[in-house]
């Protein structure tokens, strides 16, 4: 049997934060990443674990005014089944449906995807494209970190060692469109080769406004493609726009070769996917 570090399973957030602050235990939510990481085969196993699963404070999906709030322990299955998510964050629902399969979606959590900080995390480009706020907390209090400032390096985040992800705030804007696309080796159980979220506000004849283009699996962390966003600003989704944007994103990103794909493939596919999303939006 694999190594079994000691674990505490607090029932209240305050107790969990106290344990984290004093013992520095490794948090575990749905376990779909952590259970694979702690076996000792991928580096030294953690000395102690902190089980977050029983913290009701970290559950629930709520709509308050123009903000959709999702508790950190919200599972991908809960996202897929949520009427509020389907209405206000359909791209997040799409992303959740591409993660693993039923077994993973029933346990894996949004907060876990955020804290695990994989460059290939499938919900993360959606959070970037929606300009999500990630609310984190410790015994010192709560603070809100914009998604664009959350992932600071390869599997590094802005979380302090005593902080947990508590919930995610998504602004709901009926004028904003968000599109999602993941490319993997198969439709289920695949880690992405490229994952993309594109969002804009419809400005009718003034073209797209406040464009956000977010990507996973093409850098050491989930990124926004600022140059291509600027290029798309104020444009209409025409073939000329799609051609220019595809050339722009191919030049802007610097993916790497790894076990899942090659830099050349990722660059070509990213350009094609962006071209396709613009074409679909333009209806041509």
């Amino acid at each position: 049997m694999p190594y079994e570090p000691p674990v505490e399973s607090p029932m209240h957030l305050r107790d969990a934060l106290a344990i984290l602050a004093s013992e520095g235990s490794r948090p575990i939510a749905g376990g779909t990443d952590v259970m694979v990481q702690i076996t000792g085969e991928l580096g030294p196993p953690p000395e102690r674990m902190l089980d977050l699963w029983h913290l009701q404070e970290l559950r629930g999906i709520a709509l308050t005014g123009n903000t959709l709030s999702l508790g950190a322990l919200t599972t991908y299955t809960e996202i897929r089944r949520s009427g509020r998510c389907r209405e206000h964050a359909p791209a997040l629902v799409e992303a959740a449906a591409t993660i693993g399969a039923a077994q993973i979606q029933n346990r894996g959590t949004l907060g876990g995807n955020i804290a695990n900080a994989s460059p290939a995390g499938d919900t993360l480009p959606v959070l970037l494209a929606m300009d999500a706020e990630i609310v984190v907390g410790s015994l010192r209090g709560e603070r809100s970190i914009p998604a664009r400032a959350f992932w600071t390096g390869y599997r590094e985040t802005a979380l302090a060692p005593d902080e947990l992800v508590l919930r995610v705030l998504l602004p709901t804007d009926p004028e904003r469109r968000v599109r999602f696309r993941k490319v993997g080796t198969r439709r289920a159980q695949a880690i992405s080769k490229v994952v993309m979220a594109l969002s804009w506000r419809d400005g009718s004849s003034a073209g797209w406004q406040d464009v956000r283009l977010a990507l996973g699996s093409v850098a050491d962390r989930p990124i926004r493609a600022k140059e291509t966003e600027a290029m798309l600003e104020g444009r209409l989704p025409t073939q000329a726009t799609a051609d220019r944007a595809a050339a722009s994103i191919a030049a802007e990103i610097h993916p790497i070769d790894d076990v899942r794909s090659t830099a050349a493939y990722r660059r070509a596919v990213t350009a094609r996917v962006l071209h396709r999303l613009i074409r679909d939006a333009g209806g041509w």
């Binding site: 079994e4 399973s9 376990g31 259970m35 693993g100 039923a102 993973i104």
Partner: protein, 170 residues
């Protein structure tokens, strides 16, 4: 730590490390070896069981997270077979409708994926979803069969869904 769960209808109390995988508790501590370990990392679905009716990979669930919950394994599918725990006296092997359908269509070859396929299929049937080919394929997308026997497995799930004997109870 002591943990309590309901396994195939029987209350179980066990004293094991909290990070022990549900898979190891089932196989090693309770002797329920119907649940198989394939990859041990959530890729293959061989260790699929139902946790409160939801299909999960038991290799990814530490027992501390299953405390107080309801577990159903492949041993708990057939209605007359009891819990499958070693303390039970074996009863006549009456098959669950899904198991019978796997038998009829030839939905098993080497057999190592079969318990996981059955549990993923059971979760799908219990969900009451429309049993289209597409929906069944998605329901078992987390279960790998290396004999490449998917077609007959999909046929088996569709057959079970079409049977009036299926009561839809997960």
């Amino acid at each position: 730590m002591s943990y309590r769960l309901l396994v195939n209808g029987d209350p179980v109390e066990i004293d094991v490390p909290g990070m022990r995988r549900l898979l190891d508790v089932l196989r090693e501590d309770l002797g329920l070896t119907g649940t198989k370990e394939g990859c041990g990392e959530g890729e293959c679905g061989a260790c699929s069981v139902l946790l409160d009716g939801d299909v999960v990979d038991s290799c990814l669930v530490p027992i501390c997270q299953a405390d107080g919950h309801v577990i159903r394994t492949v041993e708990g599918l057939a209605p007359a077979s009891g819990s499958g725990l070693p303390s039970e006296t074996a009863a006549s092997p009456q098959l669950d409708p899904l198991q019978a359908a796997f038998l009829e269509t030839g939905g098993a070859q080497c057999g190592i994926c079969t318990p996981g396929m059955l549990m993923a299929g059971q979760a799908f049937l219990a969900s009451g979803a429309d049993p289209t080919d597409e929906a069944i394929r998605e329901a078992i997308a987390g279960n790998l069969c290396r004999c490449t026997g998917y077609t007959k497995i999909i046929e088996a799930i569709a057959l079970a869904a079409a049977r009036p004997s299926f009561d839809g109870v997960g």
